[in-house]
Structure formats: structure tokens, C-alpha cells
Amino acid sequence: MKFTLSWLKEHLDTTASVDEIAETLTDLGLEVEEVVNPADKLKSFTLAKVVHAEQHPDADRLRVCKVMTNEGEKQIVCGAPNAREGITVVLAKPGDYVPGIDTTLSIGNIRGVESHGMMASERELELSDEHNGIIELPSGEVGQKFTDWLAENDPAKVDPMIEIAITPNRQDALGVHGIARDLAARGLGTLKPLAKATITGQGACPITVTIDEDAKTDGCEVFAGRLITGVKNGPSPQWLQDRLRAIGLRPISTLVDVTNFFTFDRNRPLHVFDADKVTGGLRIHRAAEGATLTGLDEKEYTFPGGQVVISDDNGVESIGGVMGGLSTGCTEATTNVFLEAAVWDRIQIAHTGRALKINSDARYRNERGIDPEYNMQGLDDATQMILDLCGGEASEVVIAGEVPDTSRAYELKPARVISLVGMDIPEAEQRRSLEALGFRLEGNMAHVPSWRHDVLGEADLVEEVARIASLTKLQGQPLPKLPGVPKAILSPLQKREQQARRTAAALGYNECVTYSFIDQKAATLFGGGDDATMLANPISSDMSHMRPQLLPGLLRAAARNQARGFTDLALFEIGQAFHGGEPEEQSLMIAGVLVGRTGPKDVHGASRSVDIYDAKADAEAVLAAIGAPAKMQIMRGGEDWWHPGRHGRFCLGPKKVLGTFGELHPKVLAEMDIKGPAVAFVIHPADIPLPKKKGATRPALVLNDLQPVERDFAFVVDANVEALTLVNAAQGADKAMISDVRVFDEFIGGSLGEGKKSLAITVRLQPTDKTLKEKDIEAVAAKIVEKVSKATGGQLRG
């Protein structure tokens, strides 16, 4: 919403400066976005008088002038045809910045003659496009500031423009009068009452108006108008043109400019039809699907059906409350005009505007809400202005529908206001603020003014009082501390998330935060990409689906880094992934990827390609950090994006999967543009059972001082026998005595023959009551061999 200072002063009697006004507006909730003061760029210019002008000795079109300035007589070379003795001019001196030519002047030398400044044209000062000659002022003294002269003689040229942002609740501030009301309520001046015109119409309006039954509900509340005959349309008066220009509007003709004036002055959109182009009466109804209208913006609109429109016998002529039609619009030739003032359903206006993609000033205001009670007075006021500016004769008013009753009242509870805001605002001041804003108080009941659609309860009264009292003055008051030492506040899952994050970073992974939406191709590769997780209005096709996993985002990140020349990567992310489109269909995941080598090639030969045991080790470290049980089964049968033979799942039973590690499927890596080896892990922290025990006490430490014994065994088994099977079998040989079983060697093929391998284990025996003798050890060893053979079909290697 834009307005100028002089416009504001039409409604507000104030001596406040522009800065004060701007600061107050922002504090009141009408946030100032911009203040443009045209005087700022003109303030260095002064008035001067040409005392002598003669032909330049060396140039036909130039004149050498002697100019009287506040710094004495100066010589200035000028090319303007009107540069002549006796005229009063606007002088720019060396050092001055001239906005229209974007130049800071210096002493010039033009064809051998020195020039000490410049006499400016209107265009050079960005006052207008006029550049046929330099400015000739009809009055003014040498040395007078040009801005002072303008303020006195042409104030519109130095009228500061203020632009404010309007929050959706403040429809009343969409007119200058409403803004003035807010400032007056704060005490920054006095609100000037609006002049109320009284029009006595001559004869009935020949254009009839009806509202169809189905347009009465949620369509058009009231539609009033009158015919004004014998008007003379044409350019509007200069003051009106200046005002509209100052807020960025193009003056069109008096009739149209009057409607725009009321739009911005009073938040009262109006429409004018050229009555001679209207055939028959006006009917307000819902548009048929496929009906069309060429709007005042000369674009053709096709109605989806149901929008509230105004038709005559020729068809649709106007989109009610949104935009008029071109064919019945007023032109300079218009002599008979039908002036419309109506109140439309706000939601209906919003739907129509959205459906037709029209963002007009009328839609903006009718959608947020205008003052319905001003409808009939507004019609008279605008009629008066047309009669004043264009002459003519007004008919009686024709009206369909009724001005809606918006009266309502809420209780002002002064103590509650103080309790909510935490500011001591005396009751008298609370009442005064509301009354200044147009509320009528009956006891403690505050009757809401008809222009405040947003005030719908007691809380809204509190806001109004607080706003006028100024929240800038609010002083902080301590929030009572809860007694004692603050308690831990993280949930087990939140704590797991933090532990996992810090563990992964400690393992050398860089944390990424990637977008929650990815492209469909990547989503599909990882089990998603279906309609349920699709955005209806994605910002780009790269971001069309909610991620089903964290891995695709990490792999895309890895690919981007590879493209930048970083080939060895360890990236992780912790976040939500989405297995459906319902709110509960998200789950927290931890994912890490390792790409390339363990590090750059090095003198120790330690660098090697990453493999699944790296991913497994890191996954185990993260799982341990977040409280996963030490014993987990490793199972196969993971999702399709893993290498089928090179991945494992950490399980508690066949259905409880805590995580997966492995190599990614080569096809997936190719699709994701990853070069080189890549392994990954995924962990589901919410699926890890919570510890059963309460309290921090640990079980007692049981130490045994008897010497443990280690024995090695090597078994020849089928190549597809898994080490864990063998280890578990060995462990089971004597659960009490065997404290640890470790695989320390794997050898495949060779002399063992096709399909066979050797697995070597170290078994640690920890006696509990007496030192082991050789025969005890042999007994356990025999049992281990027996158990392993039974479980794996393997043989002790000879």
C-alpha cells in the first residue's frame, strides 16, 4: 500500500515529520517497506537568474550565459534553445549529482569556454520527461533552494511517498483514511472527518439491477448504482493525476481516476460502466462454464463456471469485484456513466481471483474486506466527485440485495489485557484506544466498527490495545524458573539421534543435510517414487517426490562432490524418510556412505578401496553408541538397492531389522552417477529396543584370576558357510568356559578344491574354579570340533 505525505495529511492533521510517521507506522504493525522522498535528490539545487546570454564563439547551438547565483556571477555554457537573459533557472553546481543524467558535475570546458555548472531541464532532474529546454520558473529568488520553491509552488513534486506492508488482518489500512485513523489513535495527530455528500437523484435509474438467487448466497451482498448523464470525461485534474502517479498508478481519465482515488483513499473499490454500451439491465449471476470476457487489461478470460459476474443482454460485461470488461469500459468519449458500488463475498472473490489469476487492486481489497456500511455513502461521495469534475446529472440509486449487518460486540476485560501483554495499560487508556479506532463502548462491551472484519473476539481487542500502546515499550519480565536443577529433557530417541550423529562424525563422516524431496528416478531406485509420496506442486522436477530413504540424497551429494574432484568421501545424514504420504508415515533414519578409497594413497600403503567391512564396522560402532544389543543376527534378504550377495542386515529375529550394511547395487551406482566403489549403511534408531533396566547402577564386575587358555582350530567347510554359524557352534560347545571365539583367517579354494574354504578360529577358554589341565582342554576341543562339524558339515583341517 502506497501513499504520499500530502495525501495522508488530507486525512490527518499532524505536524509529525516523515521519519516520525514512518517509525510509528512500523510500530503500529503497518511495517514501512520504503520511504521515497523526491526532495532528497533535489536538495543541492538552487535558483539562479540568467543575466546575459550570447552566442558561443565556436558552436552554433550553444550559448555562453552569465548567471547570477548565491555564490556570485558564474559563466555557464548551455545548449538549450530557451536559455536567454532574464529567466529564472534551476542551477546545478560543480560537485552536484544530477540524477537524470547520472553524473556528478565538474567544471567543464566546452569548445574552449569554461562552464561552471548547468541549468537543468525537468528530465535532468527526473521531474518529468520534458527536455525541450531548461526549466524556467515564473517566480523565485536567486539562491533560494529549489526544493523550498517546489514545496511552495508545486508541492506534489516533493511529496514523500511511503509504502507499507499490509498484514492480512488489516483491510482497514488499505485506504489512506484508515492509516490516518491508526496514527491518530496513537496520538500522532487528529483524524479529519470525511465530508459526506448528499445526492438527490433526478428520476429513476433506467438501468435495472438484479441478483440471481444462486448469486445471493456467498456471491453478492448488495449491488448499488446510478446513472450519471451528460458527463464530460477527459484527463483528470492535475492534483488527482499527481496523487495517482505518486503511488505508481497511471492516470487514465477522470471517471476511471475517480474510482482509483476512492480505492486508495477509502479502501472503496468502485466500477464505472459506459452506460451507452450497456444493453438492457445488469444481472449479477454465476458464470456458465466456458463463458468469456475481455477484461479492462485487454486479456481474455474464460470462466471455469460459478464465478460471480455482471451481465447485460450481450453477455458477461464485468467480473464482480475483480475487474470490469473492456467493451463497457469508460473512454474519453463517454458521456453517460453507470457508477457501481457493491459488496461481494470475500471468499468468492478470492476463489475467482485465484481461478482467473487476476491480481487487481479491486480483488485485493474485496478479498480482504471493505467497509460494507460505507457502500451507499461511498456511492454518493463518488457521485459528487464525478459531478464536480465532469458535470452531468445523477439519477436515483438503483439497488439489489441488502447492505449486510456486521454489528457485533465483545467484552473488553482490562485486567486480562494487562495479564496477557504484561504491560500496565490503564483501563481509561484501553478504552480511549479502542474508541479512537472506531469501536463504540457500551459498558465493557466494545462494538466493532464495520470496517474491521478481522476483529472476531476478545483477543482481538487485546491486540488493538497493545498495538496502540506500543509493544516497543514492552519491558521483559523473567519467566519463573522451574525449581531445582534443570531436568534432562531429551527423549531416548532424541538422545540416540545426537549420539549417532557425534559417533558418525567421530568415525570420520561429514554430516550432510539434503533436501527431503528428490527426483522420481532416484526415489524409484530406493523403493519410493509412487503417487502417495509425490508433491502436487513441486518447485522443479528434481524435487518431485519425498525421499523414501536417505541414501539417494547422499549418493547425489557424493556424485556432486566427485564432479568437483573429491573422490574419497564419507558422508552421513540423520533425518526423516517417508514411506507414504500420511503424517505418521515418516521414520528417522541414519545413513552413511563411503565412496572411493579409505584415504589418499600414502607412503605406508594403508590406503585401499572401501569395502563392506568398513561399512559394517561403522554401522556397528553407531549401533553400539545408541544402545543396540551386542548380539545381533546378521541376515541377508535386504532391499533391491543392495548388492544381492554383499550386504547384511542387523536383526533381532527375522522381522526386527535394526539396520543394513553393504555394497550398493552396481546398477544403482551407475544410475546415480557414482564412480568407483561405494558401500553404505542404514540404521533405524527407533527400532532398537529401549533398555529394560532403570537407574544407572551397573552389574558387579566379576574377575577371574585363573589363567585363560587360547586354542586355534581350522575347519574346511563349504564356501557358502557363514563364519557366524561356525562361531556360534563353537561358542555353544561350552558356554560357561568359552569366553570368546574369533575368526582370524579365511582361505578359499586352492588346494582345498572348488567350493571349499578354510575358516580358522581362536577359542579363548576361561576356567572358573580350577586351572585347566591338558585333558580338560582336549575334552572341550573335541566338543568344539563335534559341534562345528554338526552345524556346518565341516572337517577339522589336517
Binding site: D27, D531, S607
Partner: protein
């Protein structure tokens, strides 16, 4: 006897290696060694002779044994020294590479925020990122036609044909967590709710996903003045600068009333932003007293309970605190950026140890 001693002491001193030393040991104190043989002769002596010769021979044997041991140790030391002379490594060679992991600034700053608010008694609540339009809008007093809906650039989820429910949305703010939390836990409560939010906007300063933290405190008599205090305490703790001032400006949010936009004190010197000094103001968050309709929607009686809520951009205050220029880079995972702006794994922010290094 002195001759014998001198002979062996000299021989031992002159031994060049452990083998020669062993030969000498056998020769002197072995079973048939010279000294051992002499000791056998003691039996043939008279008691008087024996009384002087016995101790002398024993002493001689001990002396020789000690000399042998000392020489042996000397020889071992010499051998070790000789070996160590050849053992030289280039200690300037680089080590085996170790990866340096990092924590993303969003995670770090979220933990900082959590630490500060935990001290003021706020718990951490979470909610779904895909949410119903009821939680995201209606329950927050934003009805279907409200212009605020259009202004929020909402992402909508696809709605299958035949499913007549309004489409779900990607939450446009963390405020729905207020509703979900109060529905479940009622009042009084103090929570923050950090997390991802989404708006269909992408340019220099906007990304379609960003991070917000919601704050909510409900009790019998919590006021806007308490909100101001909480925020000022928060900013001073977060930016680690005492006495940061805030300015409240009246504004409008459908879910709070009264509503205020909050600015923090700052200065601009040579294009450099400094928080907590000067007379400039920087808008950092929106806030207000929770609207009675919002409390009612969450099942909390607005006649009994009142309190404040605020919403603040985590990425934004991370940028302000750590001087990170571009929001878009937060989500690009450029390794150079992650390393430069990331935090070490053990830099856990605490109030007692300080939030930042």
C-alpha cells in the same frame, strides 16, 4: 689366589662376545672349572687352612660371577646400541590418513538452542513433516480462504482420485507441533520444536526447505513481557554477548494475538553485521500470545491457560552467528563447505563449557 683372580678378571674384561664369556665361565666357575676344582681341594686341608681358604674361595667365586654378569650386560648394551645406530626413520613422513568428520551447522545450532532452552525448562517436541491441512492451517486459526494460506507458498501432497480429504501439506512452519503437543500433554507446558519446514520458494535468500524452531510456553499467567525476557536471554546466551536488546513490533499472525515481529539489536559497519551493538535492528522472528482459538483447537481451555509462542529460523541464526553467507549452500553438501563450516564431533555445546569454541 690373587693370581687366579687377576687372570680371570682380565680375561672377562677382554671377552669380545657372549660365547667367549661363556667359555670363561665354564673355565673358571663351571663344574670342572679352575675355581671349582680349588674348592674341592678344601676337603683335604686342615681345619685351620680351611678357615681362611674357604671364605676366600667363595668370595672369589662371587666376584667372578658378578664380573661375568656385568660384562654380559655391557656386551648386550653395546650390541643394542650398535643395532639402534642403524635404526633411523624419516619422522617427517606423513602418517596414515585419518578422516576428519564434521557436524553440520544446523545440527550444531539446534543443539545450542536446545541447551539454552533446556536450562529454562523447555523440552524438545517433534512432529510430522507431512501434515494434514488441519494441523498446519485450520487448528492454527488459518481457515481455508485466509490470505495467509496463499502467502505461505505451501507445498501440497498429491491426492489420489476418489480421496476427498483436503490434500496434506508439507508443513510450512513448525507451529503444528504446538497443537500436537498440547493435544497429547495439555497445559502447562514449555517446549521447543526444531525441524524442517517447507515453502515453494527458491532464490538468493530462500530455499524450498529450511529449518525452524518453534517455542511454546503455556501456564496460568505467562505474558508477552515473559516472552521478551525469554528471547533476550536466549539471544544473549546464543550469540554469547551480554545484554542483547530486542524490539517488539506489532504484527499479525493468525495463531497469535497480540502478535509481534521481533528485531535484535545490530550494527552495520563496512558491510559487516555485528549483533548486540549499535542502533540498527534486524528482524529475526515472529511471535505472540497464543490465540485462544489455537488453544481451544488443541483442547486447552483458553479461559484457564495462556502463553506465548514464537518461530525462528535456525539456518538464519546459524548464518548470523557463524558468518555463513549463503543459505542455499546449507543443503548442497559441498565437502569444502562441510569442512569449513562444520563442527568437530566432540564440540558438544553445553552451557557450563560454553556453546562455541
Amino acid at each position: 689366589m690373587d693370581d687366579l683372580r687377576n687372570k680371570y678378571i682380565d680375561l672377562i674384561a677382554g671377552a669380545s662376545d657372549e660365547g667367549a664369556l661363556e667359555d670363561l665361565r665354564v673355565q673358571a666357575v663351571g663344574k670342572k672349572g679352575e675355581i671349582s676344582l680349588k674348592m674341592r681341594e678344601l676337603g683335604k686341608m686342615t681345619p685351620e687352612e680351611r678357615q681362611t681358604a674357604g671364605p676366600a674361595l667363595n668370595a672369589l667365586k662371587d666376584e667372578i660371577n658378578a664380573a661375568l654378569a656385568a660384562k654380559k650386560a655391557g656386551l648386550a648394551d653395546a650390541a643394542l646400541n650398535e643395532r639402534l645406530k642403524g635404526e633411523w626413520l624419516d619422522v617427517t613422513l606423513p602418517t596414515r590418513a585419518m578422516r576428519q568428520g564434521t557436524i553440520h551447522p544446523i545440527s550444531q545450532v539446534t543443539e545450542e538452542i536446545t541447551a539454552i532452552f533446556a536450562d529454562m525448562g523447555f523440552a524438545v517436541a517433534e512432529g510430522p513433516q507431512i501434515d494434514t491441512d488441519w494441523y498446519n492451517f485450520d487448528a492454527l486459526n488459518i481457515p481455508g480462504h485466509h490470505p495467509a494460506r496463499a502467502e505461505m507458498d505451501t507445498f501440497y501432497m498429491h491426492r489420489a482420485e476418489g480421496d476427498d480429504r483436503p490434500p496434506h501439506v508439507l508443513r510450512t512452519h513448525t507451529s503444528p507441533v504446538q497443537i500436537r503437543y498440547m493435544e497429547k500433554h495439555g497445559a502447562p507446558c514449555r517446549i521447543i520444536a526444531p525441524g524442517r519446514v517447507y515453502r515453494a520458494d527458491y532464490d538468493q535468500t530462500h530455499t524450498p526447505m529450511f529449518n525452524q524452531v518453534e517455542g511454546l510456553a503455556i501456564d496460568k499467567d505467562i505474558s508477552m513481557a515473559n516472552l521478551k525476557w525469554v528471547l533476550e536471554e536466549f539471544f544473549s546466551a546464543f550469540f554469547e554477548i551480554d545484554g542483547i536488546k530486542t524490539r517488539f513490533r506489532a504484527s499479525h499472525f493468525p495463531f497469535t494475538e497480540p502478535s509481534a515481529e521481533v528485531d535484535i539489536q545490530c550494527s552495520w559497519v563496512d558491510g559487516q553485521l555485528k549483533i548486540g551493538e549499535g542502533d540498527g535492528w534486524l528482524e529475526v522472528l515472529g511471535s505472540g500470545m497464543v490465540h485462544p482459538k489455537v488453544l481451544a483447537a488443541a483442547g486447552v481451555d483458553p479461559n484457564e491457560w495462556q502463553g506465548f509462542a514464537f518461530g525462528m529460523g535456525i539456518d538464519r541464526i546459524a548464518m548470523l552467528k557463524y558468518g555463513i553467507p549463503d543459505l542455499r549452500a546449507f543443503f548442497d553438501s559441498d565437502l569444502r563447505w562441510l569442512r569449513h563450516y562444520g563442527f568437530a564431533s566432540l564440540d558438544v555445546p553445553t552451557l557450563h563449557g560454553g556453546l562455541s569454541r
